[in-house]
């Protein structure tokens, strides 16, 4: 099920701690217009898309498609978000065409690892067996975000882990 543009705007906006009023003010539209976009009653004007994408720190492409954020970058200390506000997004595409998306808040992953859980137990996916999540967390701690892992198995299954 592809996420609608409105849902994406809403999720990204909340993730960045921006209110509908703030967003409306910055885009020179009414708060009701933002509410309508988020409830999929209407769509933002095409000319506003770059501004919205910029405000939400994504590309227009990411806003319009369900593709995970592709680029990996190390953020300077002043631009880093609190690790508690970040999310592990795990995308598994099997060769048969099955698609699995799991969104895990990082503190939840941290807690699960502290308890001794293994990630396949959390996400239910065996393809994640060999991935050292402790190491990934320490990289995220140092400011690395974006696509951290991309694995393609011999059977054609792909696993991507994106931090946003």
């Amino acid at each position: 099920m592809e996420k609608s543009l409105g849902k994406k705007i809403s999720e990204l906006r909340k993730g960045k701690g921006i209110t509908q009023d703030d967003m409306a003010e910055r885009l020179n539209v009414s708060p009701q217009a933002v509410s309508k976009w988020e409830n999929d009653i209407s769509c933002p004007d095409i000319m506003l898309l770059p501004k919205i994408a910029n405000m939400l720190s994504v590309t227009v492409d990411e806003l319009l498609t369900d593709a995970p954020k592709k680029q990996t970058e190390v953020l300077p200390e002043e631009k880093r978000k609190c690790i508690d506000d970040l999310m592990f997004r795990i995308y598994v595409n099997s060769a048969e065409g099955d698609k699995v998306k799991v969104n895990l808040p990082i503190p939840l992953v941290k807690m699960a690892l502290e308890m001794g859980m293994k990630m396949p137990q959390v996400s239910g996916n065996e393809a994640l067996k060999g991935i050292d999540f402790g190491q990934l967390l320490s990289m995220v701690d140092k400011g690395l975000i974006g696509k951290l892992v991309e694995v393609e198995s011999a059977e054609g299954d792909t696993v991507e882990i994106v931090v946003e």
Binding site: K14, K99, V100, K101, L108
Partner: protein, 87 residues
């Protein structure tokens, strides 16, 4: 919390109250059920305790307040079946 299952033959849409799902009582029941069903498979070593599950429930309640309807799991099978768990 919502659990949506859409397949060719059935559409199930479960809406469960978050206070009930993410409660310490549910954690205690879940821990008991996990232990009961895991008696035969002792190979893995880790079993979440009641305390562990209570901590996870607390964290999930926090995320429910913070993000509202957060998609936790979204599964789409090749034949079009969809399973979605929304916080």
């Amino acid at each position: 919390m919502r659990i949506q299952i859409h397949s060719d033959s059935k559409n199930i849409n479960l809406v469960l109250p978050s206070w009930m799902v993410f409660s310490d009582l549910t954690a205690a029941i879940a821990a008991k059920v996990i232990r009961k069903h895991d008696k035969d498979e002792k190979d893995d070593g880790y079993l979440p305790s009641r305390r562990d599950l209570c901590r996870i429930m607390r964290e999930l309640r926090k995320y429910k307040r913070k993000y509202g309807h957060l998609d936790l799991v979204d599964v789409q099978s090749a034949d079009g079946d969809i399973v979605k768990i929304v916080l």
